[in-house]
């Protein structure tokens, strides 16, 4: 940080007409005189505007400046191995190893240290770059150094950027609390901090709760901030829950089609998700080796491919096995379980049994702050992706002729066949669609964890729970089921821990199904039961 500061200073200060001689002369005078003389020189150095001024002052503050007796110049000592090596302060040329008697330390006392800090603070606080000023404000906020108050006051007057000015005021408030200014100033400071809020403020204020004058104000401010903080935590938990829900939704939504719409239990659904994830992995491998510049687009290439791969495997499953078992749900369950074992072992044989890492493109990495919440980009995009997939499916089923045929076949197969719909083809397409969506889920899942042949197994129980909870045959049910289970899970975690939370949610669903055997959004009536 310091280096960055200095470089900025260099760039700006070069334009100013300031004599380098003044600066070098001042530096040369440093070893002379007493502490009060040295204070004057410190100000001269600061006022010289030389780009090296800040470094010199920082070194002086740290006690690294010495007077080299032989060369009769000011040097900085740096420990290299066991030896102290001297460097010329102005030219940075190495002078050589110095013994204890070869150099005399340029001493600073507490008063002078305070002076230097104030001068440095002012230099940074009034830096032309707002980022530097912001960082300086944060540094003061953290240190709470009362010596910076005057520098802050000056900086606040000069400041044009509102955000930075606020940061200055907050930094000043902390400094004021640590100073010996009078109570009214301090009370005002507490108000400033209360308005700032945030995770660290209660920590700052906690030191003053026992103060006879400030205690009451500090305590109320702390409670108030913590209340707001609780709301943010709630928001953060909801976010985590939504994020988990979006993953569940992606995993369950394909199932909602095969199980919900077709009434087919597809135990290989998790493996279709896994195939989608491995497609992403394979695409990234090719891109890494052949077209590294395309890496950021890898997901856009992988998503349609994953849909196709999983979809085709799904069609193959339907045509090869499932279609012979319509009307025998338990047998379908067993046969598709067998397929899931075969798919797992196939992938294991091809890609090996170990976890594979899929990279995040740049737009998927990192996080941003939203008020008191942290939101990672990958989770955010996955949430959006899941909603887009959901909306797309809804449109497909409700608004296209393909969707109409699918619904016709599931509602009355015979009549649909009589009306000229090729029911076998529609079955295959519907199953393929559910499978393809599973593939898309795999692309998303590859972005938040490792990819392994067992990937699907971890989701199969959960996604069935979502579909059963939401009510089979209803995409909206899957949506509600996924998000409510996701949020419930995340809210239980702080009290119960991740595993216990999951167990509690499972038990809840088992009990829930007793109450409403056909799920949250089930249709009622005679027709449904027959």
């Amino acid at each position: 940080m310091l280096k960055k500061l200095l470089i900025t200073i260099v760039l700006i200060v070069q334009g100013l007409a300031v004599s380098a001689q003044d600066f070098e002369a001042s530096v040369a005078q440093l070893p002379e005189g007493g502490y009060s003389d040295r204070a004057i020189i410190v100000h001269q150095i600061a006022d010289s505007g030389d780009d090296r001024a800040a470094v010199v002052l920082e070194l002086l503050l740290a006690g690294d400046l010495y007077f080299h007796k032989a060369e009769r110049i000011v040097v900085r000592l740096s420990e290299i191995g066991d030896d102290d090596v001297a460097f010329d302060l102005l030219t940075d040329a190495e002078i050589g190893i110095v013994g204890r008697r070869d150099a005399k330390k340029i001493k600073v006392n507490n008063g002078l240290r305070r002076e230097i800090r104030a001068v440095l603070g002012a230099m940074y606080l009034q830096n032309p770059d707002p980022d530097v000023r912001m960082e300086a404000a944060e540094a003061v906020y953290k240190s709470g150094d009362p010596d910076q108050i005057s520098a802050l006051d000056a900086a606040i007057v000069a400041e044009t950027d509102d955000d930075v000015a606020t940061a200055f005021r907050e930094a000043r408030a902390v400094a004021v609390l640590n100073s010996d200014l009078d109570v009214s100033e301090k009370l005002a400071a507490i108000v400033t901090l209360r308005e700032r809020g945030g995770r660290d403020v209660p920590g700052v204020l906690a030191a003053f709760t026992d103060d006879p004058d400030l205690g009451a104000a500090a305590t109320t401010a702390i409670t108030e901030i913590e209340d707001i903080q609780k709301l943010w935590n709630l928001g953060q938990n909801i976010w985590y829950g939504l994020s988990l829900g979006s993953v569940l939704l992606l995993a369950a939504i394909g199932l909602a089609i095969t199980f919900g719409v077709m009434g087919v239990i597809n135990m290989a659904h998790g493996e279709l998700v896994m195939l989608g994830a491995y497609t992403t992995f394979a695409v990234q491998e090719v891109i890494r080796n052949e077209f590294p510049q395309l890496f950021d687009y890898s997901l856009f290439i992988a998503a349609p491919l994953a849909f196709l791969v999983a979809g085709l495997v799904g069609v193959a499953i339907e045509r090869g096995v499932v279609r012979f078992l319509y009307g025998r749900p338990l047998e379908t369950l067993l046969a598709t379980w067998g397929i899931s074992l075969i798919l797992q072992q196939t992938v294991r044989s091809i890609f090996g049994p170990n976890n594979r890492e899929v990279g995040n493109p740049t737009f998927m990495s990192g996080a941003f702050e939203l008020g008191g919440m942290t939101i990672t980009y990958s989770r955010m995009w996955i949430l959006l992706f899941s909603l887009v997939v959901f909306a797309g499916l809804l449109l497909l089923l409700k608004r296209t002729s393909m969707g109409l045929r699918m619904r016709a076949v599931t509602q009355n197969r015979k009549m649909a066949a009589d009306m000229g719909i090729n029911t076998g083809w529609v079955d295959a397409m519907t199953f393929g669609l559910g499978a393809g969506v599973a593939g898309l889920a795999g692309v998303a899942l590859s972005q938040i964890g490792n990819v392994s042949p067992n990937l699907g197994q971890g989701y199969i129980v959960d996604s069935f729970m979502v579909v059963v909870f939401g009510g089979a045959g209803n995409l909206w049910g899957a949506l509600a089921g996924a998000f409510s289970l996701g949020i419930a899970n995340k809210f239980l975690e702080p009290f119960a821990g991740a595993v216990l939370a999951k167990i509690i949610v499972l038990i809840f669903i088992i009990l829930f199904i007793q109450k409403r055997p056909r799920g949250l959004f089930a249709l009622k009536g005679r027709a449904v039961e027959n």
Partner: protein, 245 residues
């Protein structure tokens, strides 16, 4: 004379659709009673309510003027003495014809009693009687799945009689039967009535005519007309409902 079955102001709806709407009806002991009505008139839902499969939203359903049928489940209603035959014949396909009758035979329905049950000579004789009545004695060792549609209908009627019910609810018994079988069914139901009460839901007017009994016409969940077949079929509302569309 006490009523066998008493329905008063019964309503029942599914997702806003009123399947039964303020229905009232009385079945006397020993009465043979036919219920007719177009599709969706609420005939099957009415039977569901009587047998405890569906709970009505409002209204009273009483058995023998004392037992509240709205608080009883299917097994309970059967144990009270209500026998029900479905529209689609439902028999136990992977049991033999004889076993179908045997498990329907009136007996203690408790779990342990059933586990340790041993067939008595009297029960065996009763089974043979019933099989002869429904003309399936020669097929008693066959799997029920292997029977023809009409034979399954008969088997189901046999099972119903094996329960020794006070009231029989019979849903379209003539469906899938030949004309001769239909007439024989009508004769059988008439011979049962008197000793037991019988409610028949039917579409086939010939069959209803052959029953020669009181007829209730259901429409949109409530009673449209009641009386003899000739009486109701002359009523303009009934003609409207049956023929007007």
């Amino acid at each position: 004379m006490t009523s066998q079955l008493y329905l008063s102001g019964v309503s029942c709806s599914f997702d806003g659709f009123k399947a039964i709407n303020n229905l009232s009806m009385v079945i006397q002991k020993g009465e043979l009673h036919a219920v007719i009505g177009p599709n969706g008139a609420g005939k099957t839902t009415m039977m569901d309510i009587i047998t405890g499969k569906t709970r009505p939203d409002e209204g009273e359903v009483f058995w023998n003027e004392t037992v509240d049928l709205t608080k009883i489940d299917e097994a309970g209603s059967a144990q009270l003495g209500i026998g029900r035959k479905f529209q689609k014949p439902t028999v136990f396909e992977t049991l033999t014809v004889e076993d179908n009758i045997a498990i329907a035979l009136k007996a203690d329905r408790g779990v342990l009693a059933t586990l340790f049950d041993r067939q008595t000579k009297k029960q065996a004789k009763k089974i043979t009687e019933l099989l002869e009545l429904v003309r399936l004695n020669d097929d008693r060792a066959r799997m029920a799945a292997d029977l023809s549609h009409g034979q399954k209908q008969w088997l189901e009627i046999g099972m119903l009689l094996a329960q020794d019910p006070e009231l029989l609810l019979v849903d379209e018994p003539a469906a899938g039967m030949t004309d001769a079988e239909t007439m024989r069914t009508a004769d059988l139901l008439k011979s049962i009535a008197g000793e037991r009460s019988v409610v028949v839901v039917e579409h086939d007017m010939e069959f209803v005519r052959a029953l020669n009994c009181k007829v209730t016409v259901l429409h949109q969940g409530s009673v449209l007309a009641e009386g003899t077949l000739d009486h109701v079929s002359a009523m303009p509302e009934v003609i409207e409902v049956y023929l007007g569309r």
